[in-house]
Symmetry: C2
Subunit: 480 residues, 2 copies
């Protein structure tokens, strides 16, 4: 390599550009692999493991193992932690169990468990068997937790000291650990009693700033926010955010510390949660991997069930239409506005649902707030419905008077029907859209399942009935 | 207070419970304010400022200032940082400018700027004028940045040392700073040259672990991921996540460090970004505050514009219906399935849009990928469309044969029309839903504006035309 490898210090605006950077470096790496593999560790010394992982993703498959072998085991393990999951599984499965175990052992405990979770069970068992006993036990313990819980996110590499320890001794201990061992989570230091019960927390900076001669207990905060290992990642994320934490300790039911969830894993959990919520709101099951890494049939499998359920529910509209068939034959002009009225209810419902689902996810609204929300969505819906109703009303009058279309002699009444139906349907949309998440939560489902298409379907069926009943009232004696 | 105040160490499952905890403590605090305000600092000493803020939110308005005055200025400033924005603005505006300035001065620089940004301009100016000159200049500098950029998120309280400094000297300097000053961002330490150019980064832990006798430059990482002050918060969040950072330095165009964005602010930005995206996807403008803190008319103002635009676009469906009015009169049976067919296209479009919008937000897909996505959504759409088409086809045959409804002598052809239309409309929905975000991005709009209702509207109008043309082909010579 002529120029020293430069990581994207000037941050690229798009992931595109970052990949372009990796693509630029990849040929140099390939050349080095042929000519002078021994120089690779030095040439790449200052690069962030995440950038090296981007480069690995650009290498031809047969070069990947050679490249990882050229790095130190520790460094190669770092790179693997940042590699895309599918490629990482491929790479590890292609290695001997011993080789893979050496790499996996060097990973942080939480990533080690995540990686093994992604492998075929057989390969994972082989690799696990080849890991040294201490790391194996630790990994097996972590693998026992659900991936989406605090236990599944936590690492066991945290630092705790006895609450009774003098400050200087604790600092020396922390320094010794920092020098000799790899501890992922060192920015917060926990204090425990002799039985391992969580007693306090301090930042590394607070320990550093502590006056000499005191005890650790004097500077540690006694009130520690912690979570049980079974806590959902959403709760972990919310507490981390509310208390501005960089790590949150995970305790068992005796309040003994089991591990900590570090903020980088909280961020990953938040982003994944957001992806899942977005996809659910779009009316499908959440996909577990990036769009580009999800196979065509997996994708169809995630979309088909909801699409089918919604389709079958929507068949009720055909039933409603059949029910009002006679009226539709007599007042055919009503047919023209069916799509307009249906969609307006769905849109207003989709707005209300997006508001409530999000407020619930953030803990701003709980079940007990349903009544408050209802009292708010009612006027919102009425105002918005009146707005669209007035526009719809004048739309018909204008078209009629400009002779763009003939809505018949009773066009005033038709216009009134459309206006009144819009008022009713948009209001109903707001109410149904805002109450659906509460109903789902009450029934024990995820309120985020209240998707835009779900609400639209709900509102379509009812909206049609509202439309036809309004027409029956207003047009009775004239068209109906 | 009888029992020592206990923060929710056992994490509450819902924000509800956390508030309940605050509500339990609030009466004790009120009693103390009457009887023995001097004891408040000690009684609340171990509580997290976030919990104290929850309690403040429970206090009667007239007690808030008394409570804050009972705390030390530093502690009161901490509590203010966690207080809900509206209440915080009220509290500060109710104080004298001098009192408010004393509190605001104690805040971290980024929060100080955020707080002043929320106040009425007049109050903000008065308070700013009463802040000591150094802090005022710093705050004014931060206020000049857009709130959603790296500059708007950053704090100026970071620690940097000269790259040439010996390790022991740097550690002593950091320790001195930790003891004497308040520095928000101390977990990462930056190295600079004499002109302040960013040269490297190390964690506090790496500094602590460094062998004695070396220079700081030997242990610092030379490749530092940084962002310009104008970078969007989305980019800040993405880089923080990709490189697992706890702070990201912000540089000017000469690569001189201006401040750092700490991970807690990145998390807040991510969560806000998510709320905005969810609301946009629901078909409205994003609200800036929590649902419960947004006024009724603000809320309506955020919903009405999109609802109106969608309504007016959807009027095209009435046009399409008028266009095919004659066919509808001849083959009235077709009317029955209009809602079913329209909604299926919208649902499939909504799924595709949610997938693409999210993949774009994560940087997984860029503009150049549109063709790849199109080639993927086409088969997805065809398979899903065929699935619904077959269900729809048999639905009609079954209803006819069970004598639930009479679709006429040509019911086979009607069933075929519905099936074929579903195939076409669902496929079109997938294609339109996946391409809309690309189109918006290409035109310079936010791809996240591709909301579920937007896609549904787009697909409704086209879907109706597809339906009628399919009917014209299949039913020509029989019903049409």
């Amino acid at each position: 390599m002529k120029t020293p490898v430069k990581s994207p210090g000037k941050a690229p605006e798009y992931e595109d550009e970052q990949k372009t950077f990796a693509a630029l470096i990849a040929p140099d790496i390939i050349a080095l692999l042929e000519d002078d593999p021994a120089s690779i560790p030095i040439e790449t010394e200052e690069m962030h493991a995440a950038d090296l992982a981007d480069i690995v993703e650009m290498l031809p498959a047969e070069k990947v193992t050679a490249f990882l072998s050229a790095l130190s085991t520790e460094r190669a393990a770092d790179v693997l932690e940042y590699l895309n999951e599918d490629l990482r599984a491929e790479v590890l499965e292609a290695m001997s169990a011993g080789q893979a175990a050496a790499l996996v052992t060097e990973m942080t405990p939480d990533d080690r468990a995540d990686v093994l979770d992604d492998l075929e069970e057989e390969s994972a068992d082989e690799i696990l068997a080849a890991i040294p006993a201490a790391e194996r036990a630790e990994t097996e313990k972590l693998l026992a937790y659900e991936p989406d819980t605090a236990g599944g996110l936590m690492t066991t590499e945290y630092v705790s000291v006895s609450a009774e320890m003098p400050v200087e001794e604790a600092l020396a201990a922390v320094r010794r650990i920092a020098r000799s061992e790899r501890r992922e989570a060192m920015n917060a230091i926990y204090t425990t009693d002799a039985e391992g019960h969580l007693k306090g927390v301090m930042s590394l900076r607070e320990l550093l700033a502590a006056p000499e001669g005191g005890r650790v207990a004097d500077i540690a905060w006694e009130e520690v926010v912690s979570v049980p290992a079974t806590a959902d990642r959403e709760l972990v994320a919310r507490l981390t955010r509310e208390y501005d934490l960089i790590a949150i300790p995970v305790v068992d039911d005796q309040d003994r510390i089991q591990g900590v969830v570090t903020v980088d894993d909280v961020i990953d959990a938040l982003v994944e949660e957001h992806s899942e919520d977005t996809q659910k709101f779009g009316g499908m099951e959440a996909i577990d991997a990036p769009y580009t890494q999800t196979g065509l049939f997996t994708m169809i499998g995630k979309r088909a069930p909801w699409l089918t359920v919604l389709f079958i529910s929507e068949m009720l509209t055909a039933g409603a239409m059949q029910h009002f068939n006679e009226e539709l034959n007599r007042a055919a002009v009503l047919v023209l506005f069916i799509p307009l009225i249906m969609s307006s209810g769905g849109n207003s419902g989709s707005q209300a649902t997006s508001l409530i689902v999000r407020a619930m996810a953030l803990g701003e609204l709980g079940l007990r707030d349903w009544w408050r929300v209802l009292l708010r969505e009612l006027p919102s819906g009425l105002v918005l419905g009146a707005l669209l109703g007035v526009i719809g009303f004048f739309r018909i009058l204008i078209w009629q008077n400009l002779h763009l279309w003939d809505y018949g002699v009773h066009y005033h009444l038709v216009a009134l029907t459309i206006g009144a139906a819009l008022l009713g349907v948009v209001t109903f949309g707001s109410l149904a859209g805002s109450m659906l998440p509460f109903l789902l939560k009450r029934l024990g489902f995820d309120p985020a399942s209240a998707s835009a298409p779900f609400v639209a379907t709900l509102v379509d069926v009812t909206g049609l009935s509202i439309y036809f009943y309004v027409a029956l009232v207003i047009l009775r004696g004239t068209l109906l």
